[in-house]
């Protein structure tokens, strides 16, 4: 199964020991189809202790939102997580399923090319032609499999799919079964079945979800991190984890570097300096927390491969350039303006970073 060469382990493998500790120390009542009580799921996501094992927090920020998400799944309703890109929607959905059933791999990735078969079932055509319709020839979709096992299916980026495909979910969510007319068979969902979908607010209006489908979801809007300290904490934690996963042989970014990157990101995102005194033009692309994380990991890779193993201001500047300037013409102006109007006046600690960024834009 998994050895050290897997690039990305699913959450239930990555945090196997934590889940195990939680299950072993379970004191609450476990709902049917779940592997631990709702309180333990909450602990798994927001951090705490299980017996002697320390549980690391997976979602930092609004604990109440996690509570609402768990409560939704308790009431056999489907859950829809909405938010800006990079607000940990998929991350939260993966960890929720990992904690609730220990299997986060029933995923449908929504794209413009997703078809109804990927939500319901399709056929192994060779077998279908050879033997006619049979259970063996049936290729089950992740949703089908989740129904069978009483687990939770995940549907990523639901609003990227066309409306016809989205609407295939309506009957699944209200009837809680999938019928296979070819076999004269109906697969009913076992207790514990549910669905977590994620959607992007930037995609709003691309394939607007129908009211009928929306009504079958409890909708939670995930916010961008409320204050700078939360965001710094999130970035630091994730960068640490990635460094271990990817075997990056560079020193972790200093607190100061993280704080600087997060400050720049927050200011550009909100269109205002942190002290709300100056307006800033926001760039065209999304500048999410997730981007700040990958930027720093990227800088670490740069430092490890081409530098002295320590993240320099030049590495960060290169990362910033790539993250912020997505549309060459417009964003470059925005970035230059920000550099000269805001960063330049920030005093000596910012001087080197400013110089490095300025150098790139010559």
């Amino acid at each position: 199964m998994s050895d050290n060469n897997t690039l990305r382990l699913p959450a239930e493998k990555l945090y196997e020991h934590e889940i195990k500790a939680l299950v072993e120390n379970e004191k609450g009542k476990i709902p049917t189809g779940w592997q631990m009580s709702p309180q333990s799921v909450l602990t798994y996501i927001t951090g705490g202790k299980a017996g002697k094992t320390k549980i690391t927090p997976k979602y930092i920020g609004n604990k109440r939102l996690v509570e609402i998400a768990i409560a939704t799944l308790l009431t056999d309703r489907a859950l829809l997580l909405i938010g800006e890109p990079g607000t940990a929607k998929s991350w939260l959905s993966e960890h929720l399923t990992a904690a609730i059933n220990g299997d986060s791999t029933n995923v449908v990735q929504g794209t413009a090319g997703t078809t109804e078969e990927q939500i319901r079932y399709s056929w192994n055509y060779a077998m279908l032609i050879a033997n006619g319709p049979s259970q063996d020839a049936l290729v089950k979709s992740p949703v089908y499999r989740a129904m069978e096992s009483g687990g939770i299916a995940r549907f990523e980026e639901i609003s990227r799919c066309s409306s016809e495909v989205q609407d295939a979910l309506i009957s699944i969510l209200s009837e809680k079964n999938i019928s296979v007319p070819e076999l004269n068979y109906e697969q009913s969902a076992r207790k514990g079945f549910s669905l977590i979908a994620t959607a992007n607010t930037r995609d709003r209006g691309v394939n607007e979800m129908s009211a009928a489908l929306k009504r079958r979801f409890n909708i939670i809007v995930l916010p961008t991190p409320g204050d700078i300290n939360t965001e710094i904490e999130i970035v630091r934690k994730r960068v640490d984890e990635m460094a271990v996963n990817l075997d990056l042989e560079a020193a972790l970014p200093t607190d100061e570097a993280v704080a600087k990157v997060v400050t720049i990101f927050r200011e550009l995102r909100s269109g205002m300096t942190l002290d709300s005194k100056e307006k800033v033009k926001p760039p065209s692309g999304v500048i999410s927390t997730a981007e700040a994380i990958s930027l720093l990991a990227n800088s670490m890779a740069l430092a490890a491969s081409f530098g002295n193993g320590k993240i320099s201001n030049e590495d960060i500047a290169a990362g910033l350039q790539g993250a912020i300037v997505k549309d060459e013409e417009k964003d470059k102006l925005v970035w230059k303006e920000y550099l000269d109007n805001v960063l330049k006046k920030r005093g000596s600690e910012w001087r080197e970073l400013y110089n490095a960024c300025k150098e790139m834009n010559r």
Partner: protein, 779 residues
């Protein structure tokens, strides 16, 4: 309870939280069980005289006790009650069972003096003659109130809740088991006493209040009530220390406490105010929600609460046009229950319900249902007191005035019109009757200054100084506002004077001061006017803004014109008007260097000054004013709109001959001059009386010649600004222009109107469409 009768001097003590429906519910059960002969309640002892009014027929809650100091600076104390207050329910119970009921906290005269002891003697915080100052823990001296607040917060966090209100609701309001509330509240109070760290003053105050409450309890026992037939209802914090094991305050000690003269009254209150004044201990952010809870509790149907809360939101949403289904309410209730389950609670708390509403009814976003949530949680209920109960001195004054001015009948919930003729009524005999309407006007204007929403002035259609139209409508809110006005003065007149003084002391612009002079004149208050005049004079010295000066001049001139009608002497305002007008005149030319945005306000300033010049030509230097206008009209470098405007005024005044006008038009429109200069000037010119323009044939003659002299390209350019200049003319006026031009070109009137009424021919449409391609470039 007490086996050793007579020895145990401790009565039953029921610790509560003010405004707690659960507390009220348990308290009623407890009272029914103990059947006390005396009910003692935490609350200012001087409220005792008002107890009968709490429970009188015709009283509707919420109401509040308002105590205030008689002397300046006015200090106040509000003590609001809602229907679900344990204290109020105790009073109701006592009345029903004919039982002795009393408030036992320090009277307001001591309380208000102590409350502000800090401000009174800032250097010596020990100014209080506290008999138990030894009890104060030394560590708490430097700490403030926020520390105690953080104890509440910390406590809630330890219990896994976000805030204290939710903690309290889950642990106290939801537990309906017998005695659960009383025992846990008492335990809560005990722990809080150990943890809280109020400031030294705060702590001393608390100790004094508790000692006084103990003395009142012991007095009650001495008056013949058995200790175990007494129930004391007090905040959970005080509950542990009211027993006989602590010393009561002696009469001498009480007599030695500092005092300040106070008055106390009941007043109607509203849920809105209840929610906006919420302190951390009061738990009244959502008065309507708690009222809903109380109704469910007394009907023994608490499970109804979730459904009722969510349905009420849905009802609001539907009424405002957002459809939401019953299925969504059902899902909301289920989600709320699941959320409560996560906190090991049997029923959802307000926070759970609100989050469920956001998730299921708001589709994840608060903004869509925020109004519905506020309507459901805060509500609009307004209290009511029987006639004559709530009588502060200002209310007495108000009702006296109503009677004197024969306005009684207007004090109703139905809006009624009132027309006033401010002139002397010569057909009646008494002086009072002759000026009845004038005095009414003074009275209503004073109420306006005090922000009492009893009256609304209609805009004056006839623009006559002696005529006013009002709409009068009485609301409970107005009564509340009236009571609050007490804080400014004993009578309506005094309060108004105080309000004026306060506004004047804070005003830094002369326009404000002038507005106050005018308002004071409308209120018939010469002293305030005189004070405002002196303030205005001081401010006027260094004001250089034309708009402000014009506004002030205008207000002053209105006041001076009022003179006779409102019966006061305006002579001392005249020099001020003269001086300000002169300043305005001198500033005009410089102020006219401006862009078109600023020009609008300068134009209205010119308009005002001109109106004053017309009305008070005997006072102000009219000649200088007109000369200045003439200068402005001729200028090429000032804002052209303003030059045009000045020219229009001069036209009205007949200061410009036809010859001069056509000269000016010619100059402005001559080829080679910038288009803007001509167009802007025309715009300004047409901002005033357009008929004065329409009747000046030579003007049109010249325009006709000008248009004829243009070549095609120039014509298109000219078309743009001519259109802009005449764009604001009405249809009739445009027709008049056409007829004027037709006359010049020698065409018959009828032909013109015929042609204008025809639809555009295809060729004409083509020509118009071609104009769309015109490059506006620099225009």
């Amino acid at each position: 309870m007490s086996q050793l009768m007579g020895k145990n001097m401790t009565p039953h003590i029921f610790g509560i939280r003010h405004l707690s429906p659960g507390g009220a519910y348990h308290l009623l059960k407890f009272l029914d069980e103990i059947k006390p002969t005396a009910v003692l309640i935490e609350g200012p002892a001087d409220t005792n005289s008002q107890i009968e009014h709490f429970t009188a027929a015709g009283t509707e809650l919420p109401i509040a006790v308002l105590a205030y100091t008689e002397e300046l600076p006015v200090r106040t104390m509000f003590y609001p009650f809602a229907e679900y207050c344990p204290e109020y329910q105790a009073l109701l119970w006592a009345k029903k069972n004919n039982v002795y009921a009393q408030f036992i906290d320090l009277p307001s005269e001591v309380f208000l003096r102590l409350e502000y002891v800090n401000q009174i003697t800032p250097e010596t915080p020990n100014g209080v003659q506290a008999d138990q100052s030894d009890d104060v823990p030394q560590g708490s001296i430097t700490t403030g109130e926020d520390r105690t607040e953080s104890v509440y917060q910390l406590w809630a966090h330890l219990a896994g809740e976000d805030d204290h209100d939710t903690y309290w609701e889950r642990n106290f309001e939801h537990n309906l088991n017998k005695d659960a509330y009383r025992l846990s509240a008492s335990e809560f109070g005990r722990s809080l006493r150990e943890l809280s760290c109020d400031s030294r003053e705060e702590h001393l105050r608390t100790l004094l209040r508790e000692a006084y409450m103990r003395s009142q309890i012991q007095n009650t026992i001495r008056n013949g009530h058995e200790p175990d037939k007494i129930v004391v209802i007090t905040g959970a914090y005080h509950a542990p220390v009211l027993g006989a094991e602590y010393p009561p305050m002696t009469d001498e000690e009480f007599a030695s406490l500092p005092r300040v003269k106070t008055k106390l009254t009941l007043m109607p209150y509203s849920y809105y105010r209840l929610s906006s004044r919420s302190g951390y201990g009061a738990g009244n952010q959502a008065p309507a929600y708690f009222a809903m809870m109380w109704n469910c509790l007394i009907n023994n149907d608490r499970d109804r609460l979730s459904a009722e809360y969510l349905s009420s939101i849905v009802r609001y949403l539907r009424d405002s046009g957002t459809p939401r289904s019953a299925a969504e309410v059902i899902e909301g209730v289920r989600l709320a229950n699941a959320l409560a389950g996560l906190h090991s609670d049997s029923v959802p708390a307000l926070q759970d319900l609100r989050d469920a509403a956001i998730t299921c009814l708001g589709h994840g976003e608060l903004s869509g249902i925020a109004q519905a949530i506020v309507a459901t949680e805060v509500g609009t209920a307004i209290g009511r007191l029987p006639e004559g109960v709530s009588r502060t001195s200002i209310q007495d004054d108000f009702y006296r005035e109503l009677k004197r001015l024969k306005l009684d009948k207007y004090r109703s919930a139905i809006a009624a019109d009132l027309e006033l003729d401010l002139r002397e009524n010569r057909r009646v005999k008494s002086k009072e009757a002759a000026y009845l309407d004038l005095n009414r006007s003074f009275f209503l204007n004073r109420l306006k200054i005090l922000n009492v929403c009893f009256q609304k002035k209609k805009s004056n259609k006839e623009a006559a100084l002696w005529y006013e139209e009002w709409v009068l409508q009485w609301t409970p809110e107005a009564e509340i506002q009236l009571v609050e006005a007490t804080l400014m003065g004993e009578t309506i007149e005094l309060a108004t004077a105080y309000a004026f003084k306060e506004r004047l002391d804070n005003s830094s612009a002369i326009a404000d001061a002038a507005a106050i002079i005018r308002a004071a004149c409308e209120c018939g208050m010469p002293e305030s006017m005189e004070y405002a005049r002196s303030v205005l004079q001081k401010l006027a010295v260094d004001t250089g803004a034309l708009e402000e000066i014009a506004q002030a001049v205008f207000d002053l001139s209105v006041v001076i014109s009022y003179g006779d009608i409102r019966k006061f002497d305006s002579s001392h305002l005249i020099p001020l008007l003269e001086q300000l007008f002169l300043r305005g005149t001198l500033l005009l030319l410089n102020a006219s260097y401006c862009d078109n945005n600023a020009a609008a306000s300068i134009a209205s300033a010119i308009h005002r000054l001109n109106a004053v010049a017309l009305e008070h030509y005997t006072i102000v230097d009219e000649e200088l004013w007109l000369n200045t206008l003439a200068q402005l009209a001729e200028c090429d470098d000032r804002n052209p709109k303003l030059s045009g405007f000045a020219c229009a005024i001069l036209l009205e005044r007949n200061r410009v001959s036809n010859e001069e006008l056509s000269q000016e038009v010619a100059r402005r429109l001559s080829p080679g001059i910038e288009a803007d200069l001509g167009a802007g000037w025309f715009e300004g010119l047409s901002m005033r009386n357009r008929y004065a323009l329409l009747t000046r044939m030579p003007l049109w003659q010249y325009i006709a010649e000008y248009v004829a002299s243009l070549d095609n390209e120039q014509f298109k350019r000219a078309l743009v600004f001519l259109r802009r200049a005449f764009g604001e003319f009405s249809l009739v006026e445009k027709r008049n222009i056409c007829e004027n031009l037709a006359e010049i070109w020698g065409i018959n009137h009828n032909q013109v109107s015929e042609h204008l009424n025809e639809a555009l021919s295809p060729e004409e449409e083509q020509t118009v469409a071609e104009l769309n391609d015109f490059d506006f470039g620099d225009i």
